[in-house]
Symmetry: C2
């Protein structure tokens, strides 16, 4: 069967575009473990947990899929152990779709004494110093052991800014690893593998990467190596460069992105899937994302404020707890503060995605984006 | 109205003994905010949160009442602030009964540069060094500002072992503070104030304290200054000494106790109410309380174990997560591990209390205690 085929059985992986508004698409990814409504935001469940959230509460925010990190899971508890325990879904009590990254990005950012060559990356665990080798074939094996629904090819992601030579070298290596990853993935009914576009900030490299990957039999294409420190306009320019070269029939995933505004802008340019630690990490540090913009609950001005973060939010925690209480919990270092703000943020991200999906269906995306940005700009005063 | 009167209106505080089995009592405390089934265990919500639990999940475990700590709350966010925000119930989204301690115990264990005299305790905050004075009158004022349902007199709790002279001095000071606390409490419809028996390990002092407090118009009596380092048999001997001198018609609260076995033994001796940080604190450190005894999830032998903590627990988290997953979460320092084990432990404590209540009603307390201790002794092997 050809990857991305749309007239597939319920047990197959499939993607359909349901409606469009300009470059934006409203779609549906089907997997044996459930459907993913796109544009979709995937909360990050690094070490087999979306930090500080019960899995049923992640689901209740409207998340259709979460992301797991191969780098973390291969080191602890180990892919073979997860497999022996029935796979990642059973392990973490998340029966819905899971996408796993390839491990490459975090090997480069977290591991010690790493050495990259044509074969793969040798590195030492940041946890216990143990030695590991991550190759395209081993990454595929790990993702198969974890039993995730969407696998990612192993790639090399360079930090921006970098020289064009460096971006080109990494892009070409990533293409060779794409072929090896695709081959190692083989044919797994109901599962998908996505290729990853690289090429730094150089349009010609990005186009070459996108075209080469589009010609391979991937089920979806990701754009990697963005949101790694460059200004938003650089990221959006790269998206506009790449998009025309990605197949219309396959989902497009912008890795590691981003702020609510990054997401809105990228959806308008045709991106279908996102993941980011921002809502969860920010929540643990006292920052809330709301319809009225970002709110720092650690700020003393909230200490006596009886108002909730958003009295009209579909998320109960955003409605029933006062800013004063959230401020108190964060100042006192209470775990409940992290729990509540993580939930509130993940719920806001899902609320934003639902709004984007509805707006695309209604052909009113520009209006929706305008109103959304107006809400952020108006700020918290809007709540009174 | 006389304190502890049982033919009271729905808006009054009242206590009824519903049935007995030996010295043990099954009772009901009525307050305008709800009923407390006794014997009752109160989860500790130190800083306006039962650590790492959503309040609705605390409720779902079967808790009728939680405890708040005056010392922590007076320092942060401050009693006047909580009052301005509608009181502690609204602040923490717990509409059910709350008992507050007097602050005395934690002033002595946590505050810096404390100085105790007849008037009260002057001390510096352990958080910011600010200076405070806690007197019986100020403790009552703080508890009224917090709007808790059961207030505790200010007392002086000495650590055991101590000299008899020291125990006597502290006991007599606590009696004088009991009178001042009772007077300052005044007459608050629907609210209660409990006196606290002190007297160290000296039976004559304990009896004198109990008799003096029984003669005052308190709504309940607590036994303080136990579970502060002494062996269990000393604690139980003190209980047996004190109990005959406490009014039958008033609830009896053993402060800061304890392990499941401490609770079982104390219920058999006539105690109606308990509080302890043990289930919550242990949960944050990877220890689970179960029908099969205490389980240290950090232990490597759980790393590959697919079994849940208790497949027949009424607590879903004890049923659906494997020991391997809980082990992984604790090893990885994941907040979800603390959330799950805290919930599992609080649920087990409530399950134990429900079992004790049912056994007293059925006149089968001795059998229940025997079977319960057998389960703990049999250990985890029992699950297979």
């Amino acid at each position: 069967m050809t990857a991305g085929s749309s007239n597939a059985s319920p047990q197959a992986f499939a993607f359909r575009v349901l409606s469009r508004d300009g470059a934006a698409r409203r779609g549906l990814v089907s997997t044996p473990r459930g459907e993913i409504r796109t544009p979709a935001f995937m909360p990050v469940g690094t070490a087999a947990t979306v930090k500080a959230m019960f899995p049923q509460d992640v689901r209740a925010t409207g998340a259709d899929i979460v992301l797991g990190n191969v780098y973390h899971l291969m080191l602890r508890p180990g892919a073979e152990r997860v497999a022996a325990l029935g796979g990642l879904h059973d392990f973490m009590n998340w029966p819905h779709p899971i996408l796993t990254d390839s491990g490459g990005f975090q090997v480069m950012s977290l591991a010690k004494l790493r050495k990259l060559d044509e074969q793969g990356v040798a590195f030492q665990s940041h946890i216990d110093g143990s030695r590991h080798l991550l190759t395209p074939e081993r990454s595929m094996e790990i993702q198969r052991l974890l039993d995730s629904d969407i696998h990612m090819q192993l790639d090399e992601c360079v930090r921006l800014p970098c020289t064009e030579q460096e971006a080109e070298r990494a892009m070409r290596l990533s293409l060779r690893w794409a072929e090896r990853s695709r081959k190692a993935f083989g044919d797994q009914t109901g599962k998908a593998i996505f290729g990853i576009v690289q090429g730094g900030e150089t349009p010609a490299l990005r186009v070459e990467s996108a075209r080469a990957l589009a010609a391979m039999d991937f089920h979806g294409l990701a754009i990697g190596g963005l949101a790694v420190g460059e200004p938003q306009e650089v990221m959006l320019a790269m998206l506009e460069t790449v998009m025309p070269h990605l197949p219309e029939s396959k989902p497009r995933y912008l890795m590691g992105v981003g702020t609510p505004d990054d997401i809105v802008q990228s959806v308008a340019r045709g991106v279908d899937m996102f993941d980011c630690v921002m809502p969860t990490r920010a929540g643990r540090h006292g920052l809330a994302y709301t319809r009225f913009g970002r709110v720092n609950l650690r700020n003393a001005r909230h200490a006596g404020d009886p108002a909730p973060l958003d009295a009209e939010s579909p998320c109960e925690s955003a409605r029933i707890y006062s800013r004063a209480y959230l401020h108190h919990l964060m100042k006192a270092g209470e775990i409940l503060g992290m729990m509540l703000l993580t939930e509130i943020n993940v719920a806001y991200y899902q609320q934003l995605m639902a709004g984007l999906r509805g707006a695309i269906e209604a052909g009113r995306l520009a209006d929706f984006i305008g109103a959304t940005k107006e809400g952020w700009a108006r700020g918290e005063g809007a709540r009174s």
